[in-house]
């Protein structure tokens, strides 16, 4: 169990510890009572009780067990008050007991970690993708509903409705609280990883709004991946996902300039990258790539590691990055991966080769409206000296880009091209 604050510690740190442990308590209670609403209700009540008692009476010797006992007592009270609810839960519980073995003995007398099954429930394919993410943040990251709402820039009432709907589906469609068997795991684990990664990408590059990065969400995703890594130490794609996120997040301080503007990888001050985080991420990428066929997160982690370990753009191992994109494209064929591969090939073989690959993607419906596509074309056209076409492609990208920092970057690039074009025209006129 985590570190517990001493009795006279500041209340803020007590709350931080509870956030860390809330998911653990919730998972254990869901397992015991088979009902997410009841488990959430009594988890909150038990934490409120702890906040009231611990600063006065001191932290009990087994805090997790104390919280669990308190929550269970409150759940039993609730069930006594509501007999019909109790009868329904009793039926569910009998079925749950029949369905699987009782959880492992509580080793050190504190809470066993049963969060894995809650991860699989929250990421169940029978739930809508957006609901999976919201539920995971609510139940496993321990965010409040207004916090989840803020993270996704939707009104709290909208998010509350979404979470209520998702919980109703879990209850009424009887989505079980269980870890899939070894035979199902390869089918179900990618869904869980996808939820965690979508929290990260949402935090890393907000699809709309003035701020480019929402660091809280990126850090929540890393925290969730760390929990998963502890729960599934043998799954190399979990290592790959955590590694990938650390390797990307290590660049966070260099990614935006003093005015909040976007700074591309090639222009970033690599001295501001987080070296310890890169080392941790690279080690995880190695784990993901060793000992069997590699998965998509492992490949992406390896690509990110090659960027992070290079002193500058010129020193980057572009042949290996391009080769890794070939592997990624075979694993997850998608035009977006093909776009990134084309950019890597351009660095390896020159802009003409990259542009040829990009032009092959021109008809892809998934790239229509995807601003990185015209922006990548513009960059290569500019490097080939075809500035009139480059300017047109930048204008096209500007019409599509979501966040203000992204648009500002495109405007700067377009401005630079237009300046050289008009000055070169001026020179011609003068001569």
């Amino acid at each position: 169990m985590g570190e517990w604050p001493v009795g006279d510690g500041p209340v803020a740190s007590v709350e931080a510890v509870f956030r860390e442990e809330r998911g653990r308590l919730l998972a254990a209670l869901v397992r015991r009572f088979g009902d997410l609403d009841l488990a959430e209700e009594v988890t909150s009540e038990a934490i409120e009780a702890a906040l009231a008692h611990w600063p006065v009476d001191g932290v009990p010797p087994k805090p997790g067990a104390w919280l669990m006992t308190t929550a269970r007592r409150k759940a039993v009270d609730r069930l006594r008050r509501d007999q019909a609810f109790a009868a329904r839960l009793a039926i569910l519980q009998v079925e749950a007991d029949r369905a699987g073995p009782v959880p492992a003995a509580e080793l050190d007398g504190d809470l066993p970690d049963e969060r894995l099954q809650l991860f699989f429930t929250c990421a169940h394919p029978a739930l809508a993708a957006e609901d999976r993410t919201a539920l995971t943040l609510r139940c496993l990251a321990g965010l409040t509903t207004p916090e989840v709402a803020r993270a996704f820039l939707v009104p709290a009432a909208t998010m509350a409705k979404r979470i209520t709907r998702a919980k109703k589906k879990i209850r009424e469609a009887r989505i079980p609280f269980r870890v899939p068997g070894a035979d199902e795991l390869p089918q179900r684990l990618p869904g869980v990883l996808q939820v965690v990664y979508s929290v990260f990408t949402e935090g890393y590059a907000a699809s709309s709004g003035p701020r480019l990065q929402r660091l809280d969400l990126a850090e929540e995703a890393i925290r969730l991946a760390r929990i998963l890594r502890r729960l599934l130490p043998a799954e190399r794609e979990v290592a790959g996902l955590l590694g990938l996120m650390l390797l990307v997040h290590a660049r966070r301080d260099a990614r935006t300039g003093p005015g909040g503007e976007l700074v591309l990888l090639e222009e970033q001050d690599r001295g501001r990258w987080d070296r310890p985080m890169i080392e941790e991420g690279s080690a995880l990428a190695t784990v993901a790539l060793t000992g069997g066929p590699v998965g998509p997160y492992g490949v992406q982690a390896a690509i990110a590691a090659l960027h992070d370990e290079a002193a500058d753009v010129a020193a980057t191992d572009w042949p290996q990055i391009a080769a890794l994109y070939d592997v990624l494209l075979a694993l997850t064929p998608s035009p977006v991966v093909a776009l990134n591969r084309a950019a890597a090939v351009a660095m390896r073989d020159g802009p003409r080769a990259g542009l040829a690959l990009l032009d092959e993607l021109a008809g892809e419906p998934l790239l229509r409206g995807h601003h990185p596509y015209p922006a990548a074309r513009a960059d290569l056209l500019h490097r080939l000296g075809r500035d009139a076409e480059a300017a047109a492609a930048y204008r096209e990208a500007l019409g599509l880009a979501g966040t203000e920092p992204e648009r500002a970057l495109l405007r700067r690039r377009l401005g630079a091209i237009e300046e050289t074009r008009s000055s070169s025209k001026g020179t011609r006129h003068g001569s």
């Binding site: 079925e95 029949r98 369905a99 169940h124 029978a126 009424e172 009887r174 079980p176 899939p180």
Partner: protein, 112 residues
């Protein structure tokens, strides 16, 4: 409840892509597992008739519907299983899931 939706219907009115033997084998599996509550295969769509009652009580009867919708209900099973994962497993094994799709719906529980 497993609602078996057929994408395309062949000349015999059965879902294309699976044989009578497939269906008989699946039906036997469901029965042997002891989970069957009820199940029917619906007759050819040309036999379908639609009734609507207007607010004034007037009854309209029309022939059809024919293949207006892309997916047609071809039959159903009601099974008794502990949770959605078990229901989805049975749905995935149903021959109708191969060419068309199977919609899984819990039967409403109005509470005792």
């Amino acid at each position: 409840m497993l609602l078996i939706m057929a994408n395309a219907v062949d000349e015999d009115g059965g879902a294309a892509g699976c044989t009578v033997e497939d269906w008989m084998a699946y039906d036997k599996e469901v029965k042997d597992a002891g989970i069957l509550v009820s199940g029917e295969s619906l007759a050819d769509l040309v036999t379908a008739t639609t009734v609507r009652v207007a607010p004034d009580g007037g009854r309209t009867v029309t022939d059809g519907p024919f293949a207006e919708t892309r997916e047609l209900l071809g039959g159903f099973y009601v099974i008794d299983v502990p949770d959605l994962d078990a229901a989805l497993d049975w749905a995935a094994r149903c021959p109708g899931a191969r060419d068309g799709s199977v919609v899984v719906r819990p039967v409403a529980d109005f509470g005792a």
